[in-house]
Assembly symmetry: C2
Homo-oligomer: 406 residues x 2
């Protein structure tokens, strides 16, 4: 690393108004640079004890009474908090539970059922595999046709690409707001509008957005959204996901996995399934309470920091990562496969080089932890509240050393 970059990283850390919040996270003793908070966010220091206290006092002390006293309301209570802090969603539209895949399935099926006669689903080839696999299965099942957009490697789906394909046959558009590989942030508001003009519904995958970039579901006029909580919401490995269903659509939409917790009165246990009013009808089984606890801690921290400040630091981190990549890695043949324009970039950058496939293990072994996305991409995730500028520099300097020798 150059002295100039070292001074610059130190200066950026000194000037970072959120720098103190890094101390709120559990330290990882052997980790020099954690560049994968976009895949698995770090735990907050108090979470371990809070979870233990829940096991002893909440679960162990209240036992079954906990459901009536608090837990049954938790999927919507935590959903409302995520909505308020990170999604631009008014209360009563966001529910926590299931995995992202299962919630996307429910949301997509509900949307398609609400557009009978329309047989096309728009998605893009750069979407996360779960989204593509899921829709392929649904399309095969229902006899629908997939319309697959094909954005450039360092970009994503634009409004004009969507405008070209939506029309009277379109039932559903399912796109990622921030692309999992390139980090391209699409114009969700414009695409939502275009989709509605075509009479279709839109389902946003917010997995790589939530907690890192501004999301404004209500302002966009979005119909449905789902996303992951173990990335920038630091929920822990496999933490439950969330789904958003716009209030105006809730009475109309029905999801196919009819379980007791999605019923209007679960404890009536009546003969016929009557879906709950509101977003609760997107529940199926018993909500995973333990898995929700860490999410609540991170949502509170994001609220304390404020999303505009979080976004500002995210932009500064990705800008700095590109600056370091240009100076240290471009000379070794590394390409940038993320947008140069911060306005359309999420909170990670993907760097590409044919040698990267062999570099992940040596990097991990020295405590530098990005992740790899084939065929040749090193994904540098920059979780705003837990990442320092010096960490970015240390990490990318190690990439250079592994690539060209110290």
């Amino acid at each position: 690393m150059t002295d100039r970059l070292a001074r610059r990283a130190a200066g950026l850390d000194d000037a970072d108004p959120l720098a103190q919040l890094r101390d709120r996270f559990v330290p990882a003793p052997d980790v020099v640079a954690y560049l994968d908070g976009n895949s698995l966010g770090r735990p907050i220091a108090g979470t371990a004890e809070r979870v233990a206290a829940f096991v002893r006092e909440g679960w162990g002390g209240r036992l079954i009474r906990g459901w009536d006293e608090r837990w049954l309301a938790e999927p919507e209570r935590l959903g409302d908090e995520i909505g308020r802090v990170a999604l631009g969603a008014a209360a009563g539209q966001t529910l926590v539970g299931d995995s992202t895949t299962v919630l996307l399935y429910k949301a997509a099926r509900a949307a398609l059922a609400a557009r009978p006669g329309r047989r096309e689903i728009v998605l893009d080839a750069a979407n996360f595999p779960t989204d593509r696999y899921l829709l392929a299965g649904i399309a095969a099942e229902l006899g629908h046709r997939l319309v697959v957009l094909d954005p450039p490697a360092d970009g994503g789906v634009t409004a004009s690409m969507v405008a070209e394909v939506v029309g009277p046959c379109t039932a559903l558009v399912l796109l990622s707001h921030v692309a999992f590989r390139s980090a391209y942030m699409t114009d969700a508001e414009a695409i939502t509008r275009l989709t509605h003009e075509a009479g279709a519904l839109v389902l946003w995958d917010l997995s790589h957005s939530t907690g890192a970039v501004p999301v404004a579901l209500d302002a966009w006029g979005a119909d449905l959204a789902a996303g992951c909580t173990y990335k920038y919401l630091n929920g822990g490995p496999g933490a439950p996901a969330f789904v958003y269903v716009a209030s105006r659509l809730q009475a109309e939409l029905r999801q196919p996995i009819q379980g007791w917790l999605g019923a209007a009165d679960p404890f009536l246990m009546g003969e016929r399934y009557e879906p709950a009013e509101g977003v609760g009808r997107f529940a199926s089984g018993t909500p995973p309470i333990l898995g929700m606890l860490p999410i609540a801690d991170m949502v509170a921290l994001l609220d304390e920091a404020g999303m505009p400040a979080v976004r500002a630091k995210s932009v500064a981190l990705t800008e700095f990562a590109l600056e370091v990549a240009d100076e240290l890695l471009a000379p070794a043949g590394v390409r940038v496969e993320s947008p140069r324009d911060a306005a359309v970039r999420g909170s990670h950058v993907t760097l590409a080089h044919p040698a990267f496939a062999g570099l992940l293990q040596p990097l991990w072994a020295r405590g530098v932890v990005p992740d790899f996305r084939g065929p040749d991409g090193l994904r540098i995730g920059l979780s705003p509240l837990s990442t320092s500028f010096q960490e970015v520099l240390a990490g990318l300097s190690a990439v250079r050393e592994e690539l060209v020798g110290g």
Copy 2:
């Protein structure tokens, strides 16, 4: 309570070879009698610290590396343990993840897809609401017909009832092994055989069986099963469920929620979904690691106790509960709505009285915690490892006091 019953309860506790294991559970200071372990099992004392240590060291220390090192294998590793200890299932057939409802959905849909042309699904009116609601949704979606058996209130589905309705139109039989209300334990081996003779598949809901009564999926020749882990596997509120798919069927069965973690190589992230070989193809999204930790602790404890000893204590507890009910509650007009024959009874008993609907809150307030199942049932759940005979007596004595006055 009578002196005779008090002496008898004390004697049974003294003679109980598993009595020491009750100390392994977290105490609940205000609880006199916990009679709802069949709805939410108690946490084991070491679980709180184990979960906290996982947050700090597993998640916080290993970070994303944990997936490669251990977590990706966890749904099948823990599934194999549940299978070995509690299900009579050889390795490679049991997977943990999702809720019971979602896994029943996947299993039912996979089974129906494997029996094209057959349009009937057999279930029973006494099955848990999720099972009935779920199948009603699936049947409406696919144009199938539900064949609903109607067992007596204190009984359950018998083999002869099934024999009368299965035939060349039957695609699937979905029954609970132990009925959630009456605790009737059905003859799963005979019903599996009858179902197969009709050319159909059987899906067992093991929610009220697993960890309390003998289950022998491989010996029964079962096709599919799913069940809950927060009852007698003490996984905590909303803990992830498990699904069993017999090895001989795995290549043939496909479930409809195609996510990346059910793919043959999740990190290939290829264009087309290719389901994993083995039971792993029943996965969809990222597995809920935190929620699996408590389950592992209880499975280890069940293994230590041995399922035959667990079943013996379960039978002794339910026998004693009926003895107390007959002596203290029958004179007040309480009816028993569970089988008298222990051979066909699970690990709870349901008592019925028109006044019970108003009794739950006063009972809970004095630390006596059964649950209520409408219209008039008090369900007395007797989790074998955490319940004492004196606790049963204290609880039912309190029911009598509330019913007829002290």
